[in-house]
Each structure stands twice: as C-alpha cells, then as structure tokens.
C-alpha cells in the first residue's frame, strides 16, 4: 500500500482550473520528483495535497485513509507537511521558535529538536536569531527543519533550490537520503531536471495541469522528459511510460 496516493485530482483557483485528473503515488520512504515548466501546476498540486486548497474532484489518501476532506491544520497533524515555495518562515520568530511551532505528531518520530540540529548544524548555530535575518540557505534549512519537526509521513518540498547557491542546494540534496532513511516519503518539486532525476527514484512531469510522463528516474529518457517538460509535440519514444 502506498503511503500517499493522489487519484484523479482536479483543483484550481476560483474559476481557473490548474490540475486535470492528476494521479500520483508515493511508497514509504520513496522520493518522487515532480518537474514541469512554470505554471504547470506543481505548486498547486503540493498545496492541494497539503490541504491549503480544496480539490474540486478526486481523492487523496494517506496510508490508505482518505484525507481529502481534512482541513489544512489536520492534514499537517496527520503527517502531510509542506515546505512552501519561498520558505515562508515566521519572520518575527527565531529559528528555534519556528521549529517549535508545528503542532501534532511532535513525539511520534525521530525528529526532536536535537536530531534536527544534528541534521542542520547551521541552524543550531543560529537558533536564537530572528528568521528574517538569516541567509537564504539558513532560512531554507529552518523551513525543512520546521516541517520535519511535525514528524511527517510525507514531506512536500516546493523548490528547495529557489534562489540558493548551487553548493548549498547540493548540501540539501545530500541530506535527502538521511531523511528518507527515517521512513519519510518525499515529494519534491524541482525546476532542474537533472537534479530531479538524480535525487529521486521516480519522476513525474506535469504539463498544463496534467501528468504527461512518469517513470523510474534511473531509466527515464532524459530527452523525452525534456520534451514533455516543454510540451514539444513530437516527443521521441523512450523507455518512459507515457500516460
């Protein structure tokens, strides 16, 4: 049974539909990458899974339990936690206070404050600084630590690399296996196709709100994926499964 399953999801904003029949599955401890151009619906999908948006149609299940109707705050408590695009820390709180905010499964997993400081030593060093005064990389580390503090079953990472130096992004991606090893399933949105393929076991490509390609990251045809990414009409056939 998959940890997270999204089936036939339609979602959008007021009268604008952003997702059309999106289906996706995450096994326990699996990393799935979500790629696609700007406006393809990646953030909308993550926001819908996290509960910030009500889907118009379709279902989201966590460990087999339907969570489609759960409000956003319940979603986080049940184990689906989003690291939002642009980090969105609580600016007036210190780094440590940010990490202490999440309610819910605080004692239900390995991510205690100490464990998080061990994972992100740079956060430990800046724990009493206000979030607004931290560097971009430090803020991103706090944002991930804040999400992990809720001991999620599923971690949703929205463009962790946005606006960060490549070396810092590399460091974040090197931590993913460690998070994964603790049994956390990760759905990550990434603009950089090569990084997405390298970090994940499976990759899904969104185009204009539809999943146009999914496959094993190791065997996925990179050129076909790039073509799907930009919506080129004649994608060359490859080992990937077109849906």
């Amino acid at each position: 049974m998959s940890t997270l399953a999204v089936r036939d999801l339609d979602a959008g904003y007021e009268d604008f539909q952003a997702l059309f029949g999106v289906s996706l599955e995450l096994a326990e401890g699996e990393i799935v990458a979500l790629v696609g151009a700007n406006g393809a619906g990646k953030t909308t999908l993550l926001m819908t899974i996290a509960g910030a948006l009500r889907p118009w149609r379709g279902a989201i299940t966590l460990d087999g339990t339907d969570i489609t109707g759960l409000p956003d705050y319940q979603r986080a408590r049940s184990g689906v936690v989003l690291v939002p695009e642009g980090r969105r820390l609580f600016a007036s709180l210190t780094a440590e206070e940010n990490i202490l905010v999440p309610a819910g499964r605080r004692d239900a997993g390995p991510w205690t404050l100490d464990a998080l400081y061990e994972l992100f030593p740079m956060v430990a060093a800046r724990r009493s600084h206000r979030a607004a005064l931290l560097s971009g990389g430090e803020q991103q580390a706090v944002a991930i630590a804040r999400a992990l503090a809720a001991n999620p079953r599923v971690l949703l990472l929205d463009e962790v690399s946005l606006g960060l130096a490549p070396a810092i992004v590399d460091a974040f991606y090197r931590l993913l296996p460690e998070i994964q090893a603790a049994g956390v399933s990760i759905l990550l949105v990434e603009q950089d196709v090569d990084r997405a393929l390298a970090a994940s076991s499976r990759t899904a490509c969104l185009l204009e709100g539809r999943v146009v390609m999914t496959g094993d990251s190791a065997s996925l045809d990179r050129d076909a994926l790039i073509a799907a990414y930009f919506g080129a009409p004649a994608a060359p056939p490859g080992p990937a499964v077109r849906t």
Partner: protein
Amino acid sequence: MTWVNDILQGIFLGGAYALTAVGLSLMFGVMRMVNLAHGDLAVCGTYLATTVMAAFGVPLWAAMLIMVPLAFVLGLVLQLSLFGRALRSGTTAPLLVTFGLSVMIENLLLQVYSANTRGVGAGDLDVAAAHIGALVLPWLAMLKLILALVVIGGLSVLLRFTAWGRRVRATSDDLAVARLQGIRVRPLFASVTGIAIAAAALAGTLNAVTTGVYPTLGALTLIFAFEAVVIGGLGSLWGTLLGGMLLGVTQVVVSQVSVPYALLASQLLFLVVLAVRPQGLFGTPQAAG
C-alpha cells in the same frame, strides 16, 4: 513641583488609557482586526459588574471577579460566532460587523438601563490618595496603572515565552503557513479576543468608578483607546502603554493652562503623530500598511 505632579497624574491617566486600549492593540496586532465595538464591550462589562453588585449585594472587587471571566467568555463567543466569520470574508467585513455590534450594544443598553448615568460604587476608592510631599498618589489611578503594567507585561511574557504565544506570533506572521504547520487558528484567535475583551471590561469598570457609566460611553472610550494604539504603533503592546501615557500627560499638563483645551491638545497630539510618523512610535512602516 506642581509640574512634576502634573506629569505624574498624566502618567496615571495614561495607565488608564493603556489598560483600556491594550485589547484593541492585541486584536489588531494578532488578527489585523479593528474592533469598533471595543469601547461598547468595555461598557457592557461595567454594566454587568453593577448588575452583579446590585443583585448579590457584593462589593465592586467581588463583582469584578465574576465579571472579568464572563467578559473573557463573551470574547470567545463573539470571536467564534461573529468576528472569525467576518475576518474570513475580507478586510471591510470586520469593520462593518463591529460597527453594527457597537450600534446594537448601545441601543440595547439604552433599552435595559436607560440613558441615565449610573455610579459605580467603590467605597472611597475614587477619592482616596497617598501624599509624598507635593505629589499626590490617587489609589484608584495607581491601581489602573499597575494593572496596565501587569496586563501588558503578562501578555508580553506569555507571547514571548509560551507555546501559546509562539503560535499567536506565528499566526500573526503568516496565517496560511501557520495552518499548514498544524495550528488551529479558530480557538487561538478566540483566546486572543477573550483576553482583549476581559482587559477592556476591567479597564472600563475601573474608569467608571470615577466617571460613572452611560450607554453611549463606549464611543468615547473607543476614541481614546484607538488614539493610544495609533500613537504607540499599531500592534505594539508597549507602544500602546507609551501612547496612552503621552495622551494622558498632554491632557493633564495642558489642563493646567486651560481646561477646555486639554482634550483638544490630546487630539492634536494624535494628528501630529499621524502626520509625522503614521506607523506610530513603536510601529514598523510595514505593520501600518
């Protein structure tokens, strides 16, 4: 020496203003909500206290022990039933809803208690004072100042050091993300409004010991509370204390020169702050926007 005494009396008056205003400041700071019924809710607390005193024949302090928790509950109920809904429907709705509530409360009080001014008996607390040389230390005014310090200091400690405070500040920073981190905003906001209304009712009742209470007193109460909040900086509790004190000192000092101009002077102070530093003394430009 009379000037020193005047300034002291101004600070005492400022303590009363600050205690009245702290709830308004808290609600704006946390929810970005201006509660136009703030003064009327304070007046409701006063009438409730006088009713309890009359019904059970208990002294004021005992009546307040019953009234202040009831005011807290009233705040909870209002937030859960009315204000929360209004907040979710945009920025104008809370103004309209609380204005409507204000009109309703004033007319309801007129119906039930008539337009006559009611005294709030507190023994000789309203005239008793200690003297140090030429300095006069009125007990009631000192009590209000001390309560203002206790309420603002206590709230600051709660906000700064408790999990509740952390959640309040996080929600104030970014409501949508706070919800995504598992924070239930509704009960959190209800607790904030409960505290705000309880503090207002406490202040209103103590103020009424000096002035008496009448159904439309709330409008005047709101104006001074609002000015203290704006002068101090929207959303800053200590700013509100300072704002109240500046209002109080201005009023008392000017009244030594000319009593009719005393009220005008404090309004002018408000206008000058709005013109020169619209975000208030302790506010950030962002918070005022």
